[in-house]
């Protein structure tokens, strides 16, 4: 029995595949808009001309050099990074929720973000360069997940519960260590730096930050997208997956490996941006349902669009940068509440 639709709700109802396509195109449209917005006023027309100038410099002949550089060297890499990082958080959050059969976990369930935070903090304390901070964050992110994963292997079986518990333990360990570093840090310089890193920011993105991030993120996203539908089966648990001819252990290891690389790569550049990996999957499910065949692309699009939007606010609203970790909650919570009100469905 199809529930009768009240007259007021008989608007144009988009099919779920159509919504997925819209969600996938949304970040690109937003990116174009974001290119034209910033503290520095550049008209839409000029922005377009500037964006075309790499093809033929003639397009932007009359535009000041500073505007060109701003769009091409400052805004463009930052917007691309926001897209990649947002998409990574969205997709890895969805992936982790599927393999943990739990809609309340996010990308940090195995401690990757906390580990990366510690890595960054230690590099900041040792006065590392941006590169060194990034690499340290990335490596410690991987280390944290390895600890969780192989720690749980100490038990004969690897039930999800043990893995989750290990993730929580390793997360606590690294957050304690980070707290220790913050305690040791000079309140005049390294402490604010660590604090700001832990709140997340894309301020320091340059083109040089992008290749590694893009390589890891895009590979991971394609992998997840192709795997898409199979997340459904994984989310039913090991026994059912096995009985349906899938080796859940191998598949989960691959997913965890990919998701960890993606999250670590993203976090090492952006700093800690919580919440996206938790909430985007929910928003996605409300829009396209729980089927991962659609949910994975939907959360890729949603995550990218969401972080782009957040970062746009962070960089353009006030003269000072607003930490992303602050905005994700401030913007995301009302957004999600609105969604929850609209469709009162389960997960």
């Amino acid at each position: 029995m199809a529930p009768s639709v009240p007259l007021t709700e008989r608007k144009i109802r988009l099919s779920k595949p159509a919504i997925v396509w819209i969600l996938l195109l949304l970040p690109f449209a937003l990116a174009m808009v974001a290119m034209t917005i910033g503290r520095y006023q550049i008209s839409v027309l000029d922005t377009v001309k500037i964006l075309l100038s790499p093809i033929s410099p003639a397009y932007a002949g009359d535009i000041p050099e500073v505007a060109k550089r701003l769009v091409l060297q400052i805004r463009a890499p930052r917007i691309l990074a926001a897209l990649l990082i947002g998409a990574s958080f969205g997709a890895t959050g969805t992936a982790f929720q599927a393999i943990f059969k739990n809609p309340l976990v996010d990308s940090n369930i195995l401690g990757v973000t906390t580990g990366a935070g510690f890595g960054a903090a230690i590099a900041i304390l040792l006065r590392g360069t941006h590169w060194q901070i990034q690499i340290s964050a990335f490596l410690f992110g991987l280390l944290a997940v390895s600890l969780s994963f192989f720690g749980s292997r100490l038990y004969k079986a690897t039930p999800l519960l043990v893995l989750t518990l290990m993730g929580i333990l390793v997360g606590s360990l690294f957050s304690s260590l980070t707290a220790l570093l913050k305690y040791m840090a000079d309140p005049l310089d390294s402490l604010p730096a660590i604090t700001f890193w832990l709140l997340g920011s894309l301020t320091n993105i340059t083109w040089r930050s992008l290749p590694v991030l893009a390589a890891i993120a895009l590979t991971g996203l394609v992998f997840f997208w192709f795997l898409g539908w199979r997340f459904n089966i994984i989310s039913l648990g090991d026994e059912e997956a096995k009985s349906l001819g899938i080796n859940p252990v191998h598949m989960k290891m691959m997913i965890i490996f990919a998701a960890t690389l993606m999250t670590a790569a993203a976090v090492s550049i952006s700093g800690v941006i919580g919440w996206v990996g938790l909430v985007i999957p929910h928003a996605g499910r409300m829009m396209v349902g729980p089927d991962h065949k659609r949910l994975i692309p939907a959360t890729i699009g949603l995550g990218a669009a969401f972080l782009l939007l957040i970062d746009l606010i962070a960089r353009a609203l006030l003269p000072g940068e607003i930490p992303l970790g602050v905005l994700t909650g401030l913007v995301g919570v009302p957004l999600l509440m609105g969604l929850l009100r609209k469709n009162r469905t389960g997960w």
Partner: protein, 474 residues
């Protein structure tokens, strides 16, 4: 130089202290040293008396003669007999060895600080004499203060309101001070209170250069430094109790105030975030340490005002001179000083405009696009937190800023306390920046003022090499 008498007196005292007390370590108790001194003198006296009795001529040979107003002679007699073991001073009207007089009006220029044993009352030696110098040093020391308190010339209890608005009653003189706040420590040094410190946290002494310079200024620095024990966040109560301070100075934002008050030692809270507060801090700490320190604090305030006025006047006398746009960047290139911060006052006092003055709070993170909009003509980075000029000048992205492309990025200098922080030294930050912003019109130079400041206020004979290293741009 106009501060010669004091310098000479100080040098002589230091030498004599060294000669007499060379067996004991320099950080030994000051009072003890003076007593040793007294013993030595009394031995000499006995020999003298013997000579006199032998020769049967009853002539007193005064150590030195003093010219003083009649109403000051009681105080001077008390000091004299306390220091010279019951002897009485000889007052004369003309050609004295030591002149006691009211402090002169402080000239609107680089001030001279005279030994001030009572408010607005100074001691000026007229001849070069060891006794006189020792006496002067005694008169402005806590022991001298003690004598003056006993005869009622100075109050025994100082009622004072600290910068957190708390009224305190503090027994005078204070002899053992613990400073848990770097800027306050810098003020203590520049009001001649450094020899009463038992432990302190320092500004800008964490890096090796800063620590070395600080040790040159005060050899006791390695023993005194307690940056990890005493700060705004931390306060090691056990360690503090063992040091037996009779005054603790801390920041008004310190988190430990209530627990430290349990020690039963007065806790004086300081808030020096702005130039005005820094002036108040200097005067209050001066008052705590006695008339001489107060006079020196007043001298610093006058000097500070004089520097700012001079720059302002010289700038305004040249109507064509612009006010350059300055960006004060922090430990990270994109972390900039807000309008609420002291750095903004420094920029304005030096005749510039802080582009990030519209921001509020503490350090603000901004993006490069915002810096493009600000388009600063000059970027200043601080001398701490690993900030490097190259981080900005060698960044590809920063080339979008013209001033970076033209190399207009400079690091604020420092000797110990960074010149951009609310410490007395910051007066030099203003001079340095003014010289940088208006080289044609501002006559004050980094080199001359650095030399004057450290000699006068830190009592430190800064070397030419040091001055050169500090004042040479980048």
């Amino acid at each position: 130089m106009k501060n010669n008498p004091l310098r000479i007196a100080t040098v002589i005292i230091l030498i004599s202290l060294f000669l007499i007390g060379c067996t004991s370590t320099p950080q030994g108790d000051q009072t003890q040293l003076i007593e040793t001194d007294n013993d030595a003198i009394s031995v000499v006296e006995e020999v003298l008396e013997e000579d006199v009795s032998n020769s049967d001529i009853d002539i007193e040979i005064p150590r030195f003669t003093i010219k003083a107003d009649v109403n000051l002679q009681g105080e001077l007699s008390a000091l004299y007999s306390a220091y010279f073991d019951g002897e009485l001073p000889v007052f004369i009207m003309d050609d004295p060895d030591l002149l006691v007089t009211a402090a002169p009006e402080i000239a609107a220029e680089r001030p001279v600080v005279y030994p001030t044993f009572l408010p607005d009352t100074i001691l000026i030696p007229q001849i070069d004499n060891e006794d006189i110098d020792n006496f002067i040093q005694f008169a402005i020391s806590p022991d001298g203060q003690q004598v003056l308190i006993e005869i009622g010339a100075l109050p025994e209890i100082l009622v004072i309101t600290d910068q957190a608005g708390r009224q305190l009653e503090i027994h005078q003189p204070i002899r053992q001070v613990l400073s848990a706040y770097g800027p306050a420590t810098a003020v203590i040094y520049s009001v001649n209170g450094w020899d009463r410190l038992v432990a302190a946290s320092y500004l800008g002494a964490r890096d090796p250069q800063g620590a070395e310079a600080m040790e040159r200024i005060d050899p006791r620095f390695p023993e005194l430094v307690g940056d990890d024990l005493f700060s705004q966040q931390e306060f090691d109560l056990e360690e503090a109790a063992a040091l037996e301070p009779n005054l603790i100075i801390g920041a008004s934002r310190s988190s430990w105030i209530e627990s430290v008050e349990q020690l039963g030692v007065p806790v004086f809270l300081v808030e020096a975030e702005t130039a005005q507060q820094l002036r108040e801090t200097a005067l209050l700490i001066g008052e705590l340490f006695g008339p001489h320190s107060y006079a020196q604090a007043q001298a610093w305030v006058n000097y500070f005002d004089w520097v700012i006025d001079t720059i302002q006047k010289q700038w305004s006398e040249n109507p064509m001179e612009p006010k350059p746009q300055v960006l004060f960047s922090g430990t990270e290139p994109l972390r900039v000083a807000s309008g609420d911060m002291y750095q903004t006052e420094i920029i304005e006092s030096a005749g510039g405009i802080s582009v990030s003055a519209e921001l509020s709070g503490y350090w603000n993170d901004v993006n490069l696009e915002q810096v493009v909009i600000w388009d600063p003509e000059l970027i200043i980075i601080p001398p701490y937190g690993g900030a490097k000029v190259e981080t900005i000048t060698e960044s590809q992205e920063w080339q979008i800023i013209d001033s970076v492309a033209f190399g207009q990025v400079f690091r604020m200098p420092k000797l110990v306390a960074p010149w951009d922080t609310p410490a007395p030294d910051s007066v030099l930050g203003i001079v340095w920046l003014a010289e940088l912003l208006h080289p044609e019109i501002v006559e004050l130079t980094c080199a001359s003022e650095t030399n004057f400041f450290y000699n006068t206020f830190y009592n430190y004979a800064i070397s030419g090499d040091e001055i050169g290293a500090i004042c040479t741009l980048n």
